[in-house]
């Protein structure tokens, strides 16, 4: 029975310990740092695989550490948390390879990789959290660990971006803290229980619970970049590409979305949330975010800012799926958590490649890139088609389930929103493809670095291609046994079956 205790701890340690060691490493110890990073990532993948296998067979993993007299630090690996843990550990390995290639020769990499591992530790911890206070601890640790990464370049712009990022996330954290404490005073416990633990609370506390829900969603909405609180995401694009790839497209943004999933399913419980009538407004907010994000993306000339706004709209799908409060929509929302991660990280890797190899930052500079960097643009194209929701790629599956879920709960107008969003996605992604594949390059590339026969360094090229293939495979073999969709159905089936 004891390995059920140390496995979650080992998963956390597998990125924490290398991180701490790397902090202490001198700058020139490149080989040691790379090996530490890579075997840390591989070890984590192996451990997560073991846990996946265990949870699939009903094994129970839980670690409890006394934090406050009645409150404990709980790490519990249930089906939902493993979904997010698998995503972040897979993408961490890929992004580490990418970061090693991307940061070749740039200063203070020890600091970068130290904080990088800290961020992943926070993300995995946040996913494995068994109660709200553990979630809050890792949620704030994530903010603290991402801040230095945004500031990594040390320019004035990054400082300004860092300040904006903090303003949002700190305010969000404060709201979350107040809400959690208020909830604790009302409910007496913070443990995540499948159908939520609030239905026992008597009637007169319901208005308070509604306010708590609003505060929780506001606190988590900052990281999930819901509309009024999304300001920091486009600003954070000033960070180096691996940071914006793993963190601002996957880890940080998903932390917010994952938090919303936890709050709606494991704190309030779906039917209690609908009873309170809070899911309606959440659907509206998510819809507005989807449309607004895509619309703003339409008018961004800077490639990474366009991808950032697209992330704002795509992450709102997850909130939409959760807020529709139907089983099929839940499947759509949660599976989009994984699919969007794969697709968006591909796009950011390609954007990073373009910036690093050809010095292209603007969409207007991308004419004729397809011929110069065919493999990168091929991966980019797969990512784009995924975003639009074209069938073979992963995006289609999640849009399919979201659409079905919307119909199931007879919210017909949501189909319109999904359609509009796909239209807008096409509107702001296809011109890029058109320019890349079908136009002639207008003049020489801004700062071209050629790598001989290959279009760019292998460490920069391999990750986007791998993630693009993953996105394609996840889309194509959706119903196969060990895919995210199957796992999500396994999760939802436990969530909704009373």
């Amino acid at each position: 029975m004891n390995e059920s205790v140390w496995l979650p701890l080992l998963v956390i340690a597998s990125s924490l310990i290398p991180g701490v060691i790397i902090f202490a490493l001198a700058e020139r110890r490149v080989k040691l740092r790379t090996t530490l990073n890579l075997c840390g990532a591989l070890l984590k993948m192996a451990l997560v695989g073991a846990m996946l296998w265990g949870v699939y067979h009903g094994q129970h993993y839980e670690v409890r550490l006394a934090l406050l007299p009645q409150l404990e630090l709980v790490l519990r690996a249930d089906a939902l948390s493993l979904l997010f843990v698998t995503l972040s550990s897979v993408l961490w390995l890929v992004t580490t390879v990418y970061a090693i290639g991307y940061l070749e020769g740039s200063p203070n990499r020890s600091r970068f990789f130290g904080f990088f591992s800290l961020c992943v530790t926070a993300t995995v911890g946040l996913a494995l959290a068994g109660n709200l206070i553990t979630f809050l601890i890792f949620y704030e640790l994530l903010t603290l660990a991402t801040y230095p990464l945004i500031m990594h370049r040390g320019t004035e712009a990054s400082r300004r971006a860092g300040k904006i990022y903090l303003r949002y996330t700190m305010a969000g954290g404060a709201l979350l803290l107040v809400a959690i404490i208020w909830l604790y005073t009302l409910s007496g416990t913070l443990e995540f229980t499948p159908q939520g633990f609030l239905d026992g609370i008597d009637e007169q506390h319901h208005p308070a619970l509604i306010i708590i829900f609003v505060l929780l969603i506001a606190g988590l909405g900052v990281k999930a970049a819901l509309v009024p609180l999304h300001g920091w995401l486009p600003e954070a694009m000033v960070a180096p590409a691996p940071v914006s790839a793993l963190l601002h497209a996957v880890a940080v943004v998903k932390a917010g979305a994952f938090g919303i999933i936890r709050v709606v399913y494991d704190v309030f419980g779906v039917d209690f949330a609908t009873l309170l009538g809070v899911t309606g407004p959440l659907v509206i907010v998510a819809a507005i975010t989807i449309v607004y994000g895509s619309l703003r993306a339409l008018f961004q000339d800077d490639l990474k800012r366009r991808l950032a706004y697209s992330t704002v709209s795509q992450v709102a799908y997850i909130t939409l799926g959760v807020a529709i409060a139907g089983p099929i929509a839940a499947v759509g929302g949660m599976v989009h958590l994984v699919h969007q991660g794969l697709m968006k990280i591909t796009l950011f890797f390609c954007a990073g490649n373009l910036a690093e190899t050809l010095g292209i930052h603007k969409v207007s500079e991308m004419n004729g890139v397809g011929r110069r960097m065919p493999w990168t643009m091929a991966a980019f194209t797969v990512g784009v088609f995924g975003m639009i929701g074209a069938p073979p790629v992963a995006g289609f599956i999640s849009k399919w389930y979201l659409g079905m879920g919307a119909l199931e709960m007879d919210q017909g107008w949501l189909i319109l929103v999904l359609a509009a969003s796909s239209l807008l996605n096409a509107a702001y992604f296809l011109p890029i493809l058109y320019a890349a594949w079908f136009c002639e390059p207008s003049g020489p590339w801004p700062e071209e670095r050629n790598f001989g026969r290959k279009e760019t360094a292998w460490a920069l090229l391999l990750p986007p291609v791998v993630t693009a293939l993953l996105a394609l495979a996840v889309g194509l073999l959706a119903l196969a046994p060990f895919t995210p969709l199957a796992w999500v159905e396994f999760v939802v089936q436990r969530e909704f079956v009373p």
Partner: protein
């Protein structure tokens, strides 16, 4: 009741630093060695004391064999153990730091003063006699003044003078309160006073006078005018010492008196204290945000954090002992974090030759350990989760929300946000490059690691709350009033 053949750890805690101070005074060449050795012995003594408390519960010892009310009673329970531990932890770091900070001439004076101060603090935390507390307060005050003025310089001298006047005024008012209590109840011993106290005008006057004196020394909002100048202009280890230990010593006495004597009649006085605390949080944080010099920023942050300690008073009536556990935990983590911050700020000042925040030229790359220490300590000051400050803030907020004090809860949260604003302002500037790049002076490793170890300790406090509360509970300091 006298511990049998046991080693009298309590008495040792007081006599050891006194003897060492005398030794240092007579043979200055041995100063540094004696200082370090005494610090290690003190750590051992606190450990022994804690183990003794654990086994035998409350530590009560009549000095000179004379029973109270005639003689002076030493009294050690969970709360004094916490304060002693805090003193030793911060003391270790400061000893490590000061070893390579002072030149030979200054060290000759620093070590005896520092050991006398340690002795006074230990005596203060173990005494249950309010007149004895007056003498220890006076001793602490004078030693602090002498230390602040140690390196000279216009700001330091002005700060020291203002601090001396404030501390003398505080002591005299406190003494007047002691006189009134003695002459109305015939004893100066806390234990006996607790039994004899009743609701007479004398007690109100005593509360007013002693409260005013102690609040002046603790620098609660309206009476905080002397703190920023004194704490910011003092040499680094001394400002760390001041902010971490001294401010807490007078708060400890106020807390003792409040729990033992003044709690029953403290209804609206508690509310006033809470209000002053709230204003202190907002005003201190706002001032800290406006500062352009690093040490002044950290000093104003102390003013704000003291506010947190007083915000708990109005909540005390309804909340159980857990609230006071929260307050003492906040005190402990603030002491460690603030000491780390001042030591880190001292390193940055020594390294860059100035402490203008806007020109912390790439401190992250050039002075990584100190900047890391500052940032980690900042995390604990802000009360952001993985830190000790978070546990304290959580308990306070829980009590505030449970009893419906929305204003206090809001102030605490806004205080946290303001704290994160001014700390990340500094950390932000540590990343960027600045134009003026004076030739940096190298900082010895011991000084940097002293700051970092303290900061890490304040973060680790986030995970050790249950054990600390267990130790804190010995002798039931926050129980039914009677210690």
């Amino acid at each position: 009741m006298v511990p049998s053949s046991e080693i009298p750890w309590g008495a040792l805690l007081i006599l050891l630093p006194l003897a060492a101070a005398i030794l240092c005074f007579v043979w200055p060449k041995l100063a540094v060695v004696t200082g370090v050795v005494t610090m290690l012995l003190l750590t051992l003594a606190v450990g022994g004391f804690a183990w003794q408390l654990q086994r035998e519960g409350l530590y009560q010892h009549a000095v000179g064999g004379w029973e109270t009310p005639l003689g002076i009673g030493l009294y050690g329970d969970g709360l004094s153990l916490l304060m002693l531990a805090m003193t030793v932890l911060v003391g270790l770091a400061i000893t490590l730091y000061a070893r390579s900070y002072f030149n030979q001439k200054q060290a000759r004076v620093f070590w005896p003063l520092w050991l006398l101060l340690l002795a006074a603090l230990n005596a203060l935390f173990l005494s249950a006699d309010i007149f004895n507390l007056y003498i220890t307060l006076e001793m602490v005050g004078l030693a602090a003044v002498a230390l602040v003025a140690l390196k000279g310089g216009r700001d330091a001298l002005n700060g020291a003078m203002r601090y001396l006047l404030a501390t003398l005024l505080g002591s005299l008012t406190y003494l007047l309160g002691v006189a009134l209590l003695y002459h109305s109840y015939g004893t100066v011993d806390l234990v006996l006073l607790a039994e004899r106290i009743d609701n007479s005008p004398v007690v109100w006057a005593a509360l007013g006078l002693m409260g005013a004196g102690l609040l002046l020394k603790t620098a609660l909002f309206p009476l905080h005018f002397w703190l920023p100048a004194a704490h910011a202009s003092a040499p680094a280890p001394i400002s760390a010492l001041l902010s971490a230990l001294l401010v807490k010593a007078s708060f400890y006495i106020f807390l003792r008196l409040w729990l033992v004597l003044f709690a029953p009649l403290g209804g609206d006085v508690a509310l006033l204290l809470g209000l002053l605390g709230a204003v202190a949080i907002l005003w201190g944080s706002w001032q800290a945000l406006r500062q352009t010099r690093l040490k002044l920023l950290v000093a104003y942050s102390t003013v704000a954090q003291i506010g947190y300690l007083f915000v708990a008073f109005p909540l005390a009536a309804a909340a159980g002992a857990m609230l006071w556990n929260g307050v003492s935990y906040l005190m402990l983590s603030h002491a460690l974090a603030k000491a780390a911050m001042f030591l880190a700020a001292g390193n940055l000042l020594l390294f860059g030759g100035h402490d203008r925040i806007a020109e912390l030229d790439r401190a992250v790359q050039r002075l990584p350990i100190s900047t890391a220490a500052f940032a980690l300590a900042g995390v604990s000051i802000m009360g952001v989760p993985p830190s000790g400050g978070f546990i304290g803030k959580w308990l306070l907020l829980e009590a505030a929300i449970e009893q419906g004090y929305w204003l206090l809860a809001a102030v605490m949260v806004v205080g946290g946000l303001l704290a994160s604003a001014y700390i990340f302002k500094v950390v932000g500037y540590a990343f960027t490059r600045s134009t003026a790049t004076p030739e940096p002076q190298s900082i010895p490793m011991g000084m940097e690691w002293a700051a970092l170890l303290l900061a890490i300790a304040s973060i680790l406090l986030g995970f050790t709350a249950p054990w600390v509360f267990a130790l804190l509970g010995i002798g039931d300091p926050f129980g039914g009033g009677a210690p």
